[in-house]
């Protein structure tokens, strides 16, 4: 690039400076701060006195049953996203792409809508709907004819993730649908027509042509789904009541929040909380690398 008159480092930093300094101060610095915190026993109850304690917080974490409980719930959320939202989103996008329904844009925006409503409001709304004697219970009563029927999935520890999984799929599938649709529309239609003329059936076109062409999009969606599910907080927080129910449905971010901002008796609550946050980042990076790897392996035997 040729340097123009008046274009020097000063004007360059005049352009970049304000945004970059806010970014470095608010985003970059806390990352370093978080790593440092997790290696100390930073004590907010004593005005922030600290010692370096090495891996102590991480050791506490791996023997904490709450950590494993939230991790396994979180893995359910990841599985719901990767094996629920993405395939369903793909199918919905494919239906729209092949113009199998009229009023395409109406349906598309209806599925996409929950994405942009406040997660907290959606959470509170579904919590109401899922109440033991709430609207869904009433629906069950009407359909089954049993006036005493209750919706109790939210109340039991071993079933609480089912309604939550349902709400997650309802909320985020539209996002993947829109991404898949945009990439489907980029596919060269001549190629599809050529395949049809050659006598390929619909399922064949789908499996042999469209799926391989979109493998990159599937991979990106998987990465987004993993990162999103591991940091997700609002929906489950709003869907559950503080106490036993929230603990049953606890995911890592809620575990981190409760540790750092509600467990005031724990002197190293911020240090321990940071260790959990960092673990969330490490786990999501690990899962993303793993899915990248799997994606590459699967793509390796594609023919083109």
């Amino acid at each position: 690039m040729r340097r123009r008159k008046g274009e020097n480092l000063l004007t360059y930093f005049g352009m970049v400076g304000p945004g970059l300094s806010v970014f470095l101060f608010i985003v970059a610095y806390p990352i370093v701060y978080s790593v440092w915190l997790s290696f100390t026993d930073f004590n907010p109850n004593r005005g922030g006195a600290w010692n370096l304690v090495g891996l102590l917080q991480y050791k506490t974490m791996v023997i904490d049953p709450n950590f494993w409980h939230s991790l396994s719930n979180n893995m359910i959320v990841v599985a719901v996203s990767v094996f629920g939202q993405i395939p369903i989103g793909f199918v919905l996008a494919y239906i729209l792409y092949r113009k199998m329904v009229k009023a395409q844009f109406f349906f598309q925006s209806m599925v996409f809508l929950p994405q942009f409503l406040s997660t907290i409001v959606i959470g509170i709304l579904w919590k109401r709907l899922f109440q033991a004697d709430g609207p869904i219970a009433r629906l069950i009563q009407i359909v089954s004819g049993d006036p005493g029927a209750q919706f109790d999935l939210m109340l039991k520890a071993d079933t609480v993730m089912y309604p939550i999984g349902f709400a997650l799929i309802w909320m985020y599938t539209g996002f993947y649908m829109v991404i898949f649709l945009a990439n489907l529309q980029k596919i060269d239609t001549e190629m599809l027509e050529a395949a049809q003329i050659d006598g390929a059936t619909e399922p064949q076109i789908f499996v042999r042509l469209i799926l391989p062409l979109l493998s990159g999009t599937v991979l990106v969606s998987t990465i987004l789904a993993i990162a999103g599910s591991l940091r997700g907080f609002d929906l489950i927080f709003a869907l559950t009541t503080q106490g036993l129910q929230r603990n049953n449905a606890m995911v890592l971010s809620i575990f981190m929040y409760q540790t750092a901002f509600q467990d005031f008796n724990n002197p190293s609550r911020f240090a321990y909380g940071s260790a959990i946050s960092n673990a969330i980042v490490v786990i999501s990076v690990g899962l993303i690398m793993m899915s990248n790897r799997i994606g590459k392996l699967l793509n390796a035997d594609e023919e083109y």
Partner: protein, 370 residues
């Protein structure tokens, strides 16, 4: 013959596919629309109605002509809705006996001169019906009754203030996100420092991996140490910083596509960089500005954890946090809770339906190329 049969089979198959497709989308739409619709009309129901029949349409608050009111005295817990100094006319204070009785929420102040004498003479403790009042007052009371859940949640939950806060956060932070995003985007795509630009765009790209949730603890400690917790500035600063990666990425992509000759010609005229930025780059990037703005306005409007953690007083809370704490406190006042939900969700829905096409392209651009 075989070909004909084949054709019929494929026709049947596509028909079947169509039926399944419609079924899937219709069900999905129903699952989206029905809960929102239920939330909308139920927010006009009285508490008793909500408990009694979950699906019935609202009636009690609309059918309010026979509502009974009792005359009360001007005690300390009655909040006047007029200024007694500026307007010293004598008033009859009445409170509903059906809607939140004795809680001083459904109170009206009727000017005695405008009342028929037999009603103006009523003593505290005596009762009257809405239908006995003059038409203009009847209309006013009826209106107040219909919107009771909304006014109650606005005043009781302090939602008006939180609504203003949310608007403030969304607008101010989005303004800076767009401005800084365009400035950095322009500098790294059109100014002559490619190495520095690569470093900066890499650094900001890292922001994609980090969300507010993942650094909330150090953010809280950082803002505490510079005394910015529980201030508007602190919240706006954080939203601005975390909105930058997407804004920078979309702007730099767009500006890179603009012809260099345009910028050159501005130089010929002797404009400075900043002049040129304001008069050429900003007007040319309107599509990016609109996309980035809508996405960030909606994102900030709905954000929850940051404000939950750093806003400790009512003064800085945003609407989602207000609605959340209000709904957990007022779990017995179901109608108020639903009204609060509607207040929080309606603006986002309006923006969504106005800009849904742009939002979809924005999501795709922001997600895939990142």
């Amino acid at each position: 013959m075989a070909a004909k049969l084949e054709a019929r089979r494929t026709a049947l198959k596509t028909l079947f596919g169509k039926i399944v497709s419609y079924f899937v989308f219709a069900t999905w739409t129903a699952i989206t629309v029905i809960p929102l619709f239920w939330m909308g009309y139920s927010s006009f129901k009285s508490n008793e109605e909500l408990v009694k029949d979950i699906y019935a349409f609202p009636r009690a608050l609309f059918d309010n002509m026979d509502d009974e009111y009792v005359v009360i005295t001007k005690s300390l817990n009655v909040i006047l809705n007029y200024d007694p100094v500026a307007d010293p006319r004598e008033r009859l204070i009445i409170e509903s006996t059906t809607i939140a009785p004795t809680r001083r929420l459904m109170v009206h102040f009727l000017v005695k001169d405008e009342l028929p004498p037999e009603i103006a003479r009523l003593k505290p403790g005596e009762r009257l019906k809405v239908s006995q009042l003059p038409a203009s007052m009847r209309r006013k009371i009826s209106w107040a009754t219909i919107w009771f859940n909304y006014t109650a949640s606005f005043t009781r939950g302090g939602l008006a203030k939180k609504f203003v806060n949310s608007v403030l956060y969304a607008s101010v932070a989005t303004f800076f996100i767009v401005l800084f995003g365009l400035m950095i985007g322009f500098a790294i795509s059109k100014m002559a420092f490619p190495k520095l630009s690569a470093i900066i765009s890499g650094l900001i790209g890292l922001g994609y991996l980090i969300s507010i949730n993942s650094v909330i603890i150090p953010l809280f400690l950082l803002l505490t140490s510079i005394k910015l917790t529980d201030t508007h500035l602190g919240v706006i600063l954080v939203y601005t910083a975390f909105g930058l990666p997407m804004s920078v990425m979309l702007s730099s992509q767009f500006i890179r596509g603009l012809p260099d000759s345009l910028i050159e010609s501005a130089y010929m005229d002797g404009a400075t960089i900043f002049r040129m930025f304001v008069s050429i780059i900003v007007p040319m990037t309107t599509p990016v500005i609109v996309t980035v703005s809508i996405m960030n306005i909606l994102g900030i409007w709905n954000e929850f954890l940051l404000v939950l953690v750093i806003a400790s007083s009512e003064f800085t809370k945003s609407l989602p946090v207000g609605v959340f704490s209000f709904s957990s406190l007022q779990s017995t006042q179901l109608g108020w809770q639903l009204a609060a939900l509607v207040i929080a969700v309606l603006p986002a829905m309006l923006v969504y339906f106005m800009f849904s096409r742009r939002l979809m392209t924005g999501v795709v651009g922001g997600a895939i190329k990142g």
